[in-house]
Every structure is written in C-alpha cells, then in structure tokens.
C-alpha cells in the first residue's frame, strides 16, 4: 500500500515516457524510410573499358585463296630430240606426235576437273570456317567481357581523368589466367590516369585470383596470352 502510494505514479509516468520514446523512435524511423531517396549520383556510370579485338589473327588459313597452279604436265610437248637427229634433212620438221597430243589434252582436262573440285572444297571449308569463327568469337567475347567487367569494377579513376583521355595497356597472362605483367603501351598523357588503369588490372587480378581464360589452348594463345585493353573514361560529367 505504502509502496503503491510512493511508487505508483512514478512507475506509470516512467512507463509512459518509455512507451512514448519507443513509439516516436519506431514511427520516426519508418516515416524517414517512407520517403524515397531520389539522389541522382553525380558520379559516372559508364562503360569504361573497351576490350580490343586482338589484332593479328594467326589463323592458319589452310587453303590459300588462289588455287595451286596446275603442275606442268609431265608430258612436255617440246623436248627437242636434238641428239637423236644430228643433222636431219630440212624436211625433217618434227611432226606432232598424235599420241603425245592426246595425252596432253587428257592431262589438261584432268587438271581442270581437279581445280574445280579444289575450288569447291575450298569454298566449303571457308563456309565452315566462318561458322566456327563466330562460335569462337562468342566464346572469346564471353571471357573478354568477364575480364573487362572485373577490371572496370576495380578501376577507380583519378580526379584528373577527362573524357578524351585514353590509355592502352598490354596485359600478359599465363594459360592458367595468372597475371604476368601489365604495361602501358599507349599513354593517355596523364600519368595518374595511366597508373590508375594499371592498378585496376592488378587489383582485378588480386580480387579474382586468376582471370577467366578459355581452356582451349589455341584460343588462349590467340587472344589471351597477350592482349591490349583500351581505357577511356566515358560520360564523365566534367
């Protein structure tokens, strides 16, 4: 009874106060949350990296475009049998041998057929090549895309970066995808920018561990052992 008289009102007041604080906190928190924050980022979202198509394509074109010259016919119609007739009489003009002539004609026809055949097969092979090339291209683009995305994510451009700058870097990889080296082959003129690009490649390598590279040896050799990257900041606001 005494306790209630002494502490009843304070207890009620204290509980009311805490309930009020809790309610205000919860409600205030939510109200703040309701407002959608529309902040357009001042910073750039850009495609920063252009993976250059590897320049020299050392694809061994197995079939040269020019058909091979027909081999000289084995039967040469011109061997002058001089020693045979040391001094023939003037009337002894070598008469074309009918046999030889026939064989030459036959040979020519055969050659032509062969050539036709060869041309056709070349065309076929070329077609096949084109199809295969597109698959390889797609593959290459997938890997290249992954690499460039990783590097873009790792790239923090220096404040001095401008839209018209571009730096070209050569990147060397091992077949396992480890980074061997990166160097600037074409400077942007801004050392900080070049350095940031270089750092981005190294940082991406560190984060990823190894770059994704195609398992096919030939593809790797062709496109990934050495490749160049073009760094250019685009859509900078300044």
């Amino acid at each position: 009874m005494n306790f209630v008289r002494d502490y009843g009102a304070p207890l009620v007041l204290a509980l009311l106060l805490h309930a009020g604080v809790a309610a205000a906190l919860l409600r205030g928190w939510d109200a703040e949350a309701d407002e959608p924050q529309v902040v357009t980022p001042r910073i750039i979202q850009a495609q920063l990296l252009v993976m250059e198509k590897p320049v020299p394509k050392p694809r061994p074109r197995s079939v040269p475009t020019a058909p091979p010259k027909p081999k000289p016919a084995p039967a040469k119609p011109l061997p002058k049998p001089e020693p045979q007739a040391p001094k023939p009489p003037p009337k002894a003009l070598p008469k074309p041998d009918p046999e030889v002539e026939r064989r030459a004609r036959e040979e020519a026809a055969r050659q032509q057929r062969l050539q036709e055949l060869m041309e056709r097969s070349t065309k076929l092979a070329l077609d096949e090549d084109v199809a295969e090339e597109s698959v390889i291209e797609a593959n290459t683009m997938t890997y290249a895309d992954a690499i460039s995305r990783a590097i873009v994510a790792a790239w923090s451009r220096p404040p001095s970066a401008r839209n018209d700058m571009q730096a070209r870097l050569q990147v060397d990889l091992t077949p396992s995808g480890d980074l061997i080296g990166v160097r600037v082959v074409d400077t942007s003129g801004n050392p900080a920018f070049d350095r940031s690009a270089e750092t981005a490649v190294r940082k991406a390598a560190r984060t990823l561990g190894t770059f994704p590279v195609p398992p096919e040896q030939s593809l790797f050799e062709a496109h990934f052992r050495h490749f160049t990257l073009l760094f250019k900041p685009e859509d900078l606001l300044r």
Binding site: D6, Y7, P10, A14, L17, H18, L25, L26, A33, T207
Partner: protein
C-alpha cells in the same frame, strides 16, 4: 533489401548477449526514471511540508501545542522536519518532566536525539540516489560492451566472406550501436537526476541543520531559564 531496416528488426536480429545487454539497459532506464519521478515528488513534498512547518513554527505558536498538532495530524510516524522537531522536543519534554534534571544533561540528550533524527532524515532524502549514480556511471559501459560485442561478431562473420561489402557489416554494426544508444539514453537522465537531487538534498539538509540549531537554542534557553 532497399528499404531501410526497421529498428525493431535490428533489435530482433541481435545476438543473445547484445539482446541481454539491451534488456538490462531498458530495465535500468525504466527503473531510474521511476526513481527520478519518485524522488522528484518526494523532495517536493518534503520541501512543501518544511515550508508549512516553519511558517507555523515561527508564527509564535506554543511548542506544546505544535507538538500536539503534529501528533494529531500524522497518522504514521512523523517525517521530515516534523520528525526532528518531535524527536528533539519530545526528548526535552520527557527529561524536563523528571525533577532535578541537569539542564546540560537534558540538552545533550536532546541534541543526540535530534542528531539521530537528522541522520534518519538524511538517509530518507538521499534514498535511491546511489542507484541513479550507478546507472549514470555504468550504463554507458554496459552499452559499449554490447556494441563492442556486436561489432566483433559482425566482423567475424565478415571474415568468412570472400568479398567484403559494407552491406555485410552495416546491419550488424547498426544493431550493435543501438546498445550504446540505449546506454546513453539510460545514463544521461540518471546523471542529471542524481546531480539535481544531490544538490537539493544538500540544500534541505542545510535547512534541517539550521532548524536543529534554532530549536536547540530555544530549548537551551528554556532549560536554563526553567526553574
């Protein structure tokens, strides 16, 4: 998860230890507020009673009559300044009723009785203040402990991830910081209340002592002038 975390979610998601710390702090906060209100009312009442009593005391009323009034109006034990008056004057009445009492001995007893009453009153005024002091000084540390523990946990869970993102640690840290906020929320009113009430208790005690001295001198005069 683009909507901000609600504070309730954060509290619910806390680790058990942090939750426990929060609970302790919430209880400490409620209790300290109860005591703050209680002390506030109690000290106000004590002051009001003291003002009333002193008005009456200095109105030239007979001390016998005053004692009867006080005895009559109090249903229980007299409190505050009245209890000091009753203790001192009651002792004086009892001793001086005995014939042949030495005035100095009477006054010594009266003073002792009033000192005891004064001590009891001081204890009554300053009740619960140590609790407020304790809450005020320790609850920030308790909250900090909860926060450190929560942050420790959230960083430890970060260690298992391959990619360290702010999103992975932010909820944990936010949740842990609630403990510090609660600690401060409990501590600040307690500290303010403690300082305020300690000062008021001191003022009241000064007035008790002054009253004690005045009553002593009045009774001293009465004892020595009495036949």
């Amino acid at each position: 998860m683009n909507e901000p975390l609600s504070i309730l979610e954060l509290v619910k998601g806390a680790t058990p230890l942090v939750l426990f710390v929060m609970l302790v702090l919430a209880v400490a906060s409620v209790v300290s507020w109860v005591l703050i209100f209680q002390r506030w009312f109690a000290l106000n009442r004590v002051q009001r009673e003291m003002d009333d009593f002193e008005d009456e005391f200095w109105s030239g009323i007979e001390l016998h009559k005053l004692k009867q009034e006080v005895d009559a109006q109090e249903e229980g034990d007299p409190t505050g300044i009245e209890s000091i008056f009753i203790a001192g004057f009651g002792e004086y009445q009892r001793l001086s009723a005995q014939s042949g009492a030495d005035p100095d001995a009477v006054m010594q007893n009266v003073q002792r009785a009033m000192r005891v009453a004064l001590n009891r009153e001081e204890e009554r005024l300053a009740r619960h203040l140590p609790f407020l002091a304790t809450v005020g000084s320790t609850s920030p540390y308790i909250g900090l402990f909860g926060t450190v523990w929560g942050i420790m946990n959230s960083f430890r869970s970060l260690a298992n991830m391959t990619q360290a993102t702010l999103a992975a640690v932010a909820p944990g840290i936010s949740e842990a910081l609630i403990a510090t906020a609660m600690g401060l929320f409990a501590a600040i009113p307690a500290v303010i209340g403690y300082n305020r009430f300690a000062a008021r208790v001191e003022v009241l005690m000064k007035r008790y002592e002054a009253f004690t001295d005045e009553l002593t001198s009045i009774l001293h005069r009465a004892a020595h002038t009495a036949p």
